[in-house]
């Protein structure tokens, strides 16, 4: 991996450069109007011109996403652990969870707004709803995937259920929880933007809407890129946490 480490940086960068080049050539070649599709340079100019606004609104969206994700995590993990532990809870709530997951969150957004208002609360709730499921689903999967040998070892010493949960099942599920969190944190950004679209006067989603309505397409694109960067940064933060925790490093979750 170390020998080819540079490839992990060079090739993705190459992909981005190719895309930007193709985009630029397309706009120049076909003389596409700025309102329809600005060139990469025009987007960059708009971003630099409005960097103050992007920063302020970005921070708002960041706050909504992170808090929404945190709520989803704090609620989702214990619920998942409970569902994985108890057959009764599992049978009772699994169908409900799946049914709730199938409801499009965008459709819920206006109702949420009616319930909790246009403040940050509505964005938190929508981000929470969107980020909740990957965390629950992956945590349950992780709790179920405990290597049988670890459980037998515990049984051979007559470990209590609590000991099995805290010393084996949960630590074994951590990689799954992190995998779910990676998905959830990017979804939380989407949830926050949905909330901003439906009713808000701040945040990158709102900035995007405003720019669009003023036909300032370069700024709309700048806001879009800011959102992408936000999502990537949050994903990277979770990946970094995974690296720091150093759990499971060098070994697959299953023995052998």
């Amino acid at each position: 991996m170390t020998t080819f480490g540079w490839q992990r940086i060079v090739y993705p960068a190459l992909g981005v450069i190719l895309l930007l080049a193709a985009w630029h050539l397309y706009v120049v070649q076909f003389k596409v109007p700025v309102v329809v599709l600005p060139s990469p340079m025009q987007v960059l100019n708009a971003a630099l011109r409005e960097r103050g606004a992007l920063m302020t609104h970005g921070l708002v969206t960041l706050k909504e996403s992170v808090y929404g994700f945190a709520l989803a995590f704090v609620l989702g993990v214990p619920i998942a652990v409970a569902v994985a532990q108890s057959r009764v809870l599992n049978l009772t709530f699994s169908p409900l969870l799946v049914a709730m997951q199938s409801v499009p969150k965008v459709a819920l957004a206006p109702i949420v707004l009616v319930w909790v208002g246009t403040g940050i609360e509505s964005k938190l709730v929508i981000a929470l709803l969107v980020a909740f499921f990957p965390i629950v689903v992956d945590t349950v999967a992780g709790m179920r995937a405990t290597p049988r040998e670890f459980l037998e070892l515990a049984h051979s010493l007559r470990a209590s259920r609590w000991q099995i949960l805290t010393k084996i099942q949960f630590p074994a599920a951590v990689p799954f929880v992190i995998a779910g969190s990676k998905v959830a944190v990017t979804l939380a950004v989407i949830g926050a933007v949905i909330g901003e679209f439906v009713g808000s006067n701040e945040g990158l989603g709102n900035l995007l809407l405003v720019a669009n309505s003023q036909l300032d397409t370069p700024l709309a694109f700048a806001a879009l890129f800011a959102l992408a960067i936000l999502g990537i940064a949050l994903y990277g933060a979770v990946a970094l946490l995974e690296y720091v925790l150093d759990l499971w490093s060098g070994e697959s979750p299953l023995p052998h």
Binding site: P147, H155, L157, K167, P171, V174, W248
Partner: protein, 269 residues
Amino acid sequence: MQQVESVARPSSAGSAPFGVVENVTKTFPGQRRGPPFVAIETVSLTVEEGELVSLLGPSGCGKTTLLRIVAGLERKTSGTIRIRGREIVEPQRDFGFVFQSPNLMPWRTVLDNILFTMEILGRRDRAAVARAHELLELVGLDAFSKSRPHQLSGGMKQRVSLCRAVIHQPALLLMDEPFGALDELTRMEMHDLLKSIQRVTRATVMFVTHSISEAVYLSDHILVFSKRPGRIAERIAVDLPHPRTAGLRYTDAFTEFEHRAGAALGIVK
């Protein structure tokens, strides 16, 4: 050939042996309404305190099932098992179990993996930590106490697993083909390590294996299993002197015992 003790000897009068397995049978329900599958049929054996008894047999002969029943990890269909007079129907906290795979938790360091046993027993204290270090030293791994399992070789992992199984000074150590996945040289090292661990802990050991030479080198008694349904075909007393060293493997007496076990398995005519 030489004198071979019969298996079905009645439990002799006088002081009861350390461990007694009496007429243990295990049947698994048949699949898709087929006939039930008899894994073990009326097996009886005794284990003396402090000795190492091997259960030797081909794969699928029920030797692992019997070991797991003694460990309380599996239920028997009928029969009784007594260790030190106690009837065994569930896992015992003064037993140790070594699995086929090292089974180390990747999120724990080597030291913490060994101390897992003491944590479950609620006895992770300073004495336990000191004892874990002693054991690590005994198996030559004290320098690795802070390492993670994935940094160790297969043999090193199995040594850690052995330490974890004996840190609470079990009365009975149950080992399920623990060295089966190791290469020949590592395996021979492990044999001597197991012997020194047994000397230090004075544990009685039941050892499942399908290697004839392993059984002869380690055992005081070998119980040879026949295949389907699992039965004990022969009980061989290996009266080679202790402590045994690698040179013993190349003596005539050693080969003689290998032949005898091979004959009991039906692979040497």
